[in-house]
């Protein structure tokens, strides 16, 4: 193999690697992105049943029902609308009524969000930027929270 041919080979390999990487990014990017909604947005939209969504808001007061030690029902609200959520599994330590939470899951036909994971606010001062933004828009956001 001549030197020139080998250099060409090296460049070719690099280009192929970059090309494969771009393909992977595009393909996986489309598959693994989930949109974030507030309860009012989710209520007003028609969401495909097989599409993963994220819902952010507050766990509505007096809506939390423990069916068994590992399956729960509650409502996520932004004071305008609320969405029913069903979840099976471990709830995060900081999950409480009246506190912020982000739910990831799929909508079912009867407008219940079947949660695959639940995230809660991490400390007293901490609020996911995405929830804060959504709540500021709906006017619920209280600065001293």
């Amino acid at each position: 193999m001549s030197l020139r041919f080998q250099r060409l080979l090296l460049i070719l390999v690099s280009v192929i690697m970059i090309f494969v990487a771009v393909l992977l990014i595009l393909y996986n990017g489309r598959k693994n992105i989930s949109y974030f909604y507030t309860p009012s947005e989710l209520a007003s939209l028609k969401i495909d049943i097989d599409k993963k969504v994220r819902l952010g808001g507050f766990v509505e007061k007096n809506s939390f029902i423990k069916i068994t030690a590992s399956s729960f029902k509650f409502k996520i609200s932004d004071d305008l609308k609320s969405i029913d959520v069903a979840y099976q599994g471990l709830l995060p330590d900081l999950f409480r009524e009246g506190q912020g939470a982000v739910i990831e899951g799929y909508m079912t036909k009867n407008n219940v969000l079947n949660a695959t994971s639940v995230f809660a606010k991490h400390d007293e001062n901490y609020m996911p930027a995405s929830i804060k933004k959504g709540l500021e828009n709906t006017g619920y956001w209280n600065k001293n929270y």
Binding site: G29, A69, G89, L94, A129, S130, K133
Partner: protein, 620 residues
Amino acid sequence: MSSLVGFLCLVFAVGINIFLIFSKYLLKLKIVSFNILIRLSCILTLASFLSLIYAYLVSDFSNFNVFQNSHSDKPLIYKISGTWGNHEGSMLLWVSILSIYAFFFSFTKKIDLNLKKLTLLIQSFLHISFSLFIIFTSNPFLINSVIVHEGLGLNPILQDPGLAIHPPILYAGYVGYSIVFSLAVASLMHESNDLEWLSIAKKWSLISWTFLTGGIALGSYWAYYELGWGGWWFWDPVENISLMPWITGLALVHSLLLVKGQQILKKWIIFLSILCFSLSIFGTFLVRSGILTSVHSFAADASRGLFILLIFFIITGFSLVVFLLKFPDNNKPVKFLFINKVSALIINNILMIIATLTILLGTIYPIIIEVLTNNRISVGGPYFNSTVIPIMIPGFLLMSIAPVLSWQTNKIKNSYYYIICFILISVIILIQSYLTEFNSWGVIGLILGVWIIIASISAIILSYKLKLNFKFLQNINPHLAHIGVGIAIIGITCSSVFQKEYDYNLNTGDNFIVNEINVVLDKIETKNEKNFQALRANFLIQEENSFKNVKSGKNYYPVSKMITSEAGILHQWDRDIYFILGDQKDEKWFVKVYVNPFVSLIWLGIIIMICCGFIGVIRK
């Protein structure tokens, strides 16, 4: 009182650094006085940091920062670690480590004096920028406006020995790249053609990389047993951010191997050095600004984010401009051969940069989309798994044989042996996994891991004479590091692909069977500890004729009214059995159990890599 001392020390240190920068133009300082001033500024910064620690130790609640983040009944170690468990303190830690690096760098010999001065000046500039950031936007020495006798307490999730030392070690990694960065930029500005600085840069980049590895490993080990999610890596934005300089740093360490007179890579090395430190600052910006949602976001404050963004643009912009204006010319074109060490390292570098870009894209994509379309999205962990891992696979394959490739020629010694070996391993693993549990990712991971280990061991045996001294250890160090990677890959593959998950609803006294092991939920008890109440479930695990105890439960911290989960883990060399206690309903407790095979190999592999990192630093 200690607040005042601390603040004054911080300001004086900035004063010294400003004086140093002006002195370059106004008066010609001798290198001796230059060194002394740099060391003095380091001592002052450390004094400032120590006085903050002191304020935490004596629970001086007249300091607003202490009041917000500490409590008098915290155990001693968490009083100390509370110093950097918050935004202000952690930034002071950042600057302290920056000045410690400058301190040690000032002892460097065998370096052009002007180059050394320039490097220290750039370091001074970094010191000033970050100190001003602290003084103006996040001062830890503010005085509390009201008189209080008790503090608000540290976030309980941070009260953990692993996490107490995680930030200093991680920062030692991040900030270590500042020296490499300063050296690279200084060498550009100095316009000399000597390559001495590269061997110095190699040492510092290896030190930083080793600390960064340790910091990331501690963080993920903490996530493993503290968050109670059964895994140790979640592609959380902060994890991604620490991974980017880590991979770039790895590329840097490897391309520094190529220094031996290859001019073309000098350009690349300078670029990587700038990139590493820029990514470190960029990470700090993303975490501290609260733009990213993560476990690590301290209270968000727009002005802070803007200030760091400004520093980021000044530093990165300045260095890139210098890079474009003054980059060294190619006077020695490299001989590219397809199958040799140089091209293997180039391909490995390209792969690492692509992987870094992929992670960067996934991490900031939500921000870009929100700015552009006002839609809020999140990119899930599966994106990273199915993008980054395939990109890295050719790199791992290459890694196993790269150390035995030759520098000059196109031949591999004993190539037939390696080919046969690789085919043999693949066949054995394929058959084995068909007979047990087939999973294509599992097969790929296992083949890679085993192949890397066996190829590295063979390389050691075939190329070196076995001797029992330190010189021999230094020679085989790269191979050892790669064996560490192989071990970690096996651990990562097994623990993620072959992880098993079980859910139970149990009364106390119930028997249950996890993966053919008999377990009893023995009893549930509560206990009062120093600053929390503990609820613990005791699991008895039957092992042949003896029983093993594992406690899992929750802690309740009355000061901050928070609950944290404490996972109970039975560590065995070939698997971890991981218990999490859930909720209770009608006397029945929800218990989640994970069986994670070969997790211990991950930590073993990482420890090997860290040891090799340190051996590499000692190596001349």
